[in-house]
């Protein structure tokens, strides 16, 4: 327990570092935003100076950082200059879309890669082993945005089984009453199966795109870890003691192989957070990645700052969870 608490505390300096980096990065963004927004000729230099003062850009960097930090603690991430909303509202509105997609893709990837890696390790050299190797080699070489476009071509244009790859919802249906912001979950809560179906089919292609990308490292690691434990002495002993095959594989080998697999899961999730931006772009998915891209194009730095903070915070949280899960699975890891 104290170990877990200590691990939680150790995330604080990193989080602080993340805040510093995001602050610095967005302060060196090209173009003084005040000048950018005052680009109409009617504004005099005095007006620009006034705007700079209003935006706090005339103060020293340390002062600006302090103001930023204080605002951050009050949950204020600034305003988006293009949409006029606060960054916090924007992110809260868009995060469920990204979360729904990423989590579903992640579950999909785990659901396929664990059995695949397991089967490959149980029969090395078999057809399924070669299949798993092919997938894990191809998976790391396929750029997500190309896979996504390929899937759209095959399943939307050629076969016509997928809905038009734009957004999260069939335009002829209404969104379910908002509870979590995740459309499939909300539709289930409302008990509206038609809406659920629509939201779900809309999500399949982008989720498969992301899952394909995550499949490779997970399958590879599951296979390698299983091969390792299956060849170990405790499994040989278990086998010699006449335990059932099921017990040997799942209780002995798989549980011990889980440790590196869980670590890889954490890593994969972080890559998926990055890939999210690309997938959201391909499928016009209105998540936070798309939001960040819009703000980069518009030189709007508060949303970008907010986006990076949220991403890093999620990532740190995922790492923490991974570590804690690892300690629970294998108490030796905490020594």
């Amino acid at each position: 327990m104290t170990r877990i608490a200590l691990r939680l505390l150790s995330a604080i300096p990193t989080l602080f570092g993340v805040v510093i980096v995001t602050f610095l990065l967005t302060r060196v963004l090209p173009g003084d935003p005040a000048v950018f927004f005052a680009s109409n000729p009617s504004m005099s230099t005095d007006d620009i100076a006034a705007l700079r003062e209003q935006l706090g850009l005339d103060k020293s960097l340390i002062e600006q950082f302090w103001i930023y930090l204080v605002a951050l603690f009050q949950g204020d991430l600034g305003n988006s200059l293009t949409t006029g909303q606060t960054v916090m509202t924007e992110i809260i509105n868009r995060l469920p879309a990204s979360a729904e997609l990423t989590v579903f893709a992640f579950l999909l990837a785990i659901g396929v890669s664990l059995p695949l890696g397991l089967a490959a390790a149980l029969r090395p050299g078999s057809l399924i082993d070669h299949l798993s190797r092919l997938i894990s080699t191809l998976g790391v070489s396929m750029p997500t945005f190309v896979t996504g476009l390929l899937l759209i071509y095959v399943f939307y244009f050629l076969l016509g089984v997928a809905p038009e790859p734009i957004g999260r919802m069939d335009p002829f249906l209404f969104d379910p009453p908002k509870v979590t912001g995740m459309l499939t979950v909300d539709a289930l809560i409302a008990g509206d199966m038609e809406v659920f179906r629509a939201a779900f089919t809309q999500m399949i292609l982008p989720a498969v795109t992301m899952a394909l990308f995550a499949l490779a490292p997970l399958t590879r690691m599951t296979r390698a870890a299983m091969l390792g434990t299956l060849g170990s002495e405790f499994v040989r002993t278990a086998r010699a003691s006449g335990l059932s095959r099921r017990k040997i594989i799942f209780t002995y080998a798989f549980r011990n192989a889980l440790l590196p697999v869980v670590t890889t899961m954490g890593m994969t999730f972080s890559y998926m957070l990055g890939a999210n931006v690309l997938v959201e772009r391909v499928f016009s998915w209105p998540g936070i990645g798309a939001f960040a891209m819009d703000s980069i194009i518009n030189l709007d730095y508060a949303p970008l700052q907010g986006f990076m903070l949220v991403m890093a915070a999620i990532f740190i949280l995922v790492n923490l969870t991974t570590d804690i899960v690892v300690t629970i699975i294998d108490p030796r890891a905490s020594k």
Partner: protein, 286 residues
Amino acid sequence: MKSRAMQDRWDVIRHVVGGNPVNLIAFVLFALICLAALLGPVLAPQDPLATNAAFALQPPSTQFWFGTDQLGRDIFSRVLVATRLDLLIAFGAVGLSCLLGSLIGAMIGYWGGFWDGATSRVVDVLMAFPLFVLAMATVAALGNTVANVIYATAVINLPFYIRLARAEVRVRRGLGYVEAARVGGSGDWRILIRFLLPNIASPLVIQASVNLGWAVLNAAGLSFLGLGVRPPTPEWGIMVAEGARFIASGEWWVAAFPGFALMVTVFTFNLTGDALRDILDPRMRT
């Protein structure tokens, strides 16, 4: 003595290439891609920038092997010419981060102390971001140019080299040959550059070759989003982005061929990376 070592290495190369045909294919593909990068503009059958409205969006044919895009430009020529820019970004980024990262890592590993702690913290913070997101923000912050895509890709690769070089030097700094060099009157810098760096070169080169494919993917991802390379420059990521508009209406070739080139390149780099690892470090063979 030297020739004996050379002979041994040769044997390993022969063994690795001969024992695994995949490695041979990887090396051949690698050579072809490098050739395309060198000779691309000479080999291209048409001007990659020449537009021709009469031939817009033509499917692949004997005249246009990969078809034409919305402006009637020959996609085959564009894909071929783009090789140079894509490889330049990848090699540039990996070279830069490998050089800088191993130097920084070796220095903090050798001297330790304050800078070691400080640099390690900074590396931890960099690694706390999803790396692609960090690269995006870096390009946005530094400005939307090709050079900045190289720097951004180098920045997200840097932590790996710093950590690796630091760990390798820390293991070796107390070893006999370092002591011997010191007794022989070599200063810290000489020990670092003449004795330690050459000894840790092989894991660093392995890391670099494994990273190369990833660097290509990252750079293409950035330009797919519209960061860095600008149209009409031929580059795979941006070509896929331009072709994305036509996928849903069935003109697959505009996005598919640059995407395919990207895939083959990354695939080849990953395979050669693995093969090189087999040659340089037989212990890591999987």
